[in-house]
């Protein structure tokens, strides 16, 4: 957990009152679970989309694996990442298996990878069902399976427990927590739930109104207030929805 696998410098999206992300300097160490925390509308998803090159930054730079990301090298960098942004992406008229086959073909991965991820997210039995017939939780699992395909070095998950039942939420949290140990992955996981971060994250970045207001270990966060919750509320202004 020494070198930073991802760094951003003055990453900005939008101008004036339309600024959604404001001069963010992320430092994400390799092999950790980095919790990206903030109230609704704080700029978490925008930042994650910027990291993946889905949005064009107004200013600032992004460095992945020590390489500055440009339009030219974006895809070769993203080959080593997996992501689930906003909500799961899928072709509803195709089966879960067919959706994974498409990703595997795009990433030029062997078919065996598909079986592995289906087993991992426990969707193997449902693989031949059309995705539009999946429950919300099953779609979320499929989204995670798609992100895991190819065993990426960095996994970016935007509120991955959305739509899961309590057992599923706990299962996913445990799974994410173990990824750096079992698969040597770095995981960036966003959430607006502090309790969720407490269970999973080694490092945390807190964003509010587009600005990064805290970045450090969970222990360092705790020193900001009487408790973690107190520290978080103090940093984000308290009264806003989490």
């Amino acid at each position: 957990m020494n070198t930073n696998i991802i760094e951003t410098d003055s990453l900005t999206k939008g101008v004036g009152s339309q600024t959604r992300v404001n001069h963010i300097d992320l430092r994400i160490p390799e092999g950790c679970v980095y919790g990206f925390l903030g109230p609704n509308g704080a700029g978490k998803t925008t930042t994650l989309k910027l990291l993946l090159g889905l949005l064009k930054p107004t200013a600032g730079t992004i460095t992945f694996f020590g390489q500055k990301m440009t339009e030219q090298n974006r895809l070769s960098i993203l080959k080593y990442t997996g992501s689930l942004i906003e909500s799961p992406s899928f072709y509803g008229h195709l089966t879960g298996l067919e959706n994974l086959q498409i990703i595997a073909k795009l990433k030029k991965l062997p078919a065996g990878e598909i079986t592995n991820v289906l087993q991992t997210v426990r969707l193997y039995e449902q693989k031949d069902k059309k995705v539009k017939q999946y429950s919300l939780g099953m779609k979320q699992r499929l989204g995670i399976a798609m992100a895991l395909l190819g065993n990426p070095r960095v996994l970016i998950l935007d509120e991955p427990t959305n739509g899961l039942d309590p057992a599923g939420i706990q299962e996913i949290r445990e799974f994410i927590k173990n990824l750096p140990i079992i698969r040597q992955m770095t995981v960036i996981v966003s959430s607006h739930l502090l309790s969720e971060m407490e269970q999973m994250a080694d490092m945390v970045g807190i964003i509010n109104h587009g600005s990064l207001i805290f970045q450090g270990t969970m222990a360092a966060l705790e020193t900001q207030g009487e408790s973690l919750e107190d520290a978080f509320l103090k940093l984000t202004g308290g009264g806003e929805s989490l």
Partner: protein
């Protein structure tokens, strides 16, 4: 009355910023432009009022069905896309929701028909048609346009309701429109004309043209309609109103499942959270098909691909066989019967359906997030254009195959024209340019239906520039010219043709790349 206004105003609010009225306005302008471009020709002023009553239903038959398919799709699709059925059903009785859509269409078609009537009356006076219009005849024309168009609206609305995938509704509209237009030229099949609601524009025409080769148009005359089409129009209205309601009543909030009759027994599946039995994992395989082809598995676009050329072939051949005394050039005469309307008026929207469907796959949900981190823009766009081009090739190939089969059925003893392969090759090359243009439109405009409407307008524009001799000005004119749709003897400069086809294809391909690269990803 108050309820009616309340319902319509609610639907108006829902469709705000959807550009729905723009669709009808553009089509009205197109009808006006097409019918009115030679209205002030002195040769026609003497019988201008009658000529208008002859021309407009014809143009209506070609344009209104597609306009209505687009219009109905836009109205219904907002509920599918927003997943609002379940919300609406907790606040309104189901019948009210249904009536809301019906009333909105009723009002729109009424305004459209009235506007059309007023425009043509005003244009007649403006260009100085002799005499005064026969108000009874114009009244009848208005009633016919309104009632036939409203029936078509109901039909399209029902299809759009049943199938959340709007490709089905648009394909139905195109197929019906084609059948209706062709049936106008087959008076020998009156029952079929009456049966098909798209054929009612032709079946209810009450003005005929006195024409011969030497003197051209001599005048127009009233015809009596003894074909019983009125009863068919009324019958269809009741069938569609009641049938539509029955279908909607049995529709679940997440779509129509034929649940009242044909429910499929659910397959046994294990619950992954509670079932502890360990499943046996069989290895999965990767299919060899390209990714873009994998995505269109089970796609409804194959329906239009098969049906549309089939309609063109069956009715075109029927028309040919019924007019053997005029159509004397066997294979060549049959070709114009098969290809003329198909290539100018139906092939562009059909390519539009293909392109819209291909891009809708990515516009849906958050799919852009997934696709743009896994593949390059160049590869993605190339894949879309290539698949669109492949289906276009299959469609035109299917048209040619049907042409040969129909020619053999007609008993031609001469060999199949050797030029057919060249027509097909040129048609496909021009078709690829249309694919690229439509792919660009469907990428930029996220609506499924609007680019299809634009394709129809493009087809017309292609016809207009061809008539003026500017064959290479639009990709739409290239495809029809390549297929020699209106003249099998047309000499095409192959070098120029190929150059322009490649130019348009490259232009729109690069425009797509530029658009994706310079715009942030938008997800639903």
């Amino acid at each position: 009355m108050n309820y009616l206004f309340k319902t319509i105003s609610l639907e108006l609010k829902k469709t705000k910023r959807r550009g729905i009225w723009m669709v009808l306005t553009i089509f009205l302008l197109l009808i006006t432009g097409w019918t009115g471009y030679n209205m002030n020709d002195e040769r026609f002023l003497g019988f201008g009022w009658m000529m208008t009553l002859y021309n407009v239903p014809l143009i209506n038959a070609i344009l209104i069905p597609t306009a209505i398919a687009v219009f109905a799709s836009r109205i219904v699709d907002i509920e599918h896309k927003g997943n609002t059925w379940k919300m609406l059903e907790t606040m309104q009785p189901k019948f009210e929701i249904y009536l809301g859509k019906v009333f909105y269409g009723f009002a729109a078609i009424l305004i459209f028909s009235t506007a059309e009537l007023i425009i043509f009356l005003a244009m007649g006076y403006a260009v100085g048609f002799h005499g005064t219009p026969d108000l009874w005849a114009y009244g009848l024309f208005f009633v016919q346009t309104f009632s036939i168009s409203f029936n078509l609206y109901l039909l399209q609305m029902i299809v759009s309701l049943i199938f959340s995938n709007q490709a089905v509704a648009l394909c139905t509209g195109l197929c019906g429109s084609m059948a209706g237009l062709f049936l106008m030229y087959v008076p020998q099949w009156p029952f079929l004309r009456n049966m098909v609601p798209w054929g009612h524009y032709g079946a209810s025409m009450f003005v005929g043209m006195d024409w011969n080769k030497e003197e051209n148009i001599k005048g127009f005359y009233y015809m009596s309609q003894n074909n019983g089409v009125v009863f068919f129009i009324i019958g269809w209205f009741f069938v569609l109103m009641l049938g539509g309601w029955l279908v909607f009543r049995h529709m679940d909030t997440d779509g129509f499942h034929f649940s009242f009759k044909y429910r499929r027994p659910p397959k046994h599946t294990t619950n992954e959270l509670t079932d502890n039995a360990s499943p046996s994992y069989k290895p999965v395989k990767l299919p060899h098909l390209p990714v873009e082809l994998l995505k269109i598995r089970r796609a409804p676009i194959w329906l239009a691909f098969i049906v549309l050329p089939l309609i063109s072939a069956v009715i075109g051949t029927g028309n040919y066989l019924n007019n053997l005394e005029i159509l004397t050039s066997t294979w060549y005469s049959l070709w114009t019967q098969h290809a003329l309307f198909f290539c100018y008026f139906f092939m562009p929207p059909l390519v539009g359906v293909y392109a819209s469907y291909l891009w809708r796959l990515e516009h849906n949900g958050t799919n852009w997030n997934m696709i743009l981190v896994n593949t390059s823009v160049w590869r993605l766009v190339l894949g879309k254009v290539m698949v669109c081009a492949a289906i276009t090739f299959l469609t035109l190939g299917w048209l040619c195959l049907l042409y040969i089969i129909c020619g053999l059925y007609a008993g031609f003893t001469e060999p199949v024209p050797a030029e057919l392969l060249e027509w097909l090759a040129c048609g496909v090359l021009g078709g690829i340019a249309v694919c690229a243009a439509q792919c660009f439109l469907s990428l930029v405009i996220r609506s499924f239906a609007i680019p299809i409407g634009m394709a129809l307008v493009g087809g017309f524009a292609g016809l207009a520039v061809t008539a003026k001799g500017h064959y290479y000005l639009l990709p739409y004119s290239l495809m029809s010219m390549g297929m020699r749709a209106n003249n099998p003897d047309l000499n095409v400069n192959i070098t120029t043709f190929v150059s322009y086809s490649i130019f348009f294809t490259l232009l729109f391909y690069l425009l797509m790349i530029w658009y994706i690269r310079h715009h942030d990803v938008r997800t639903q």
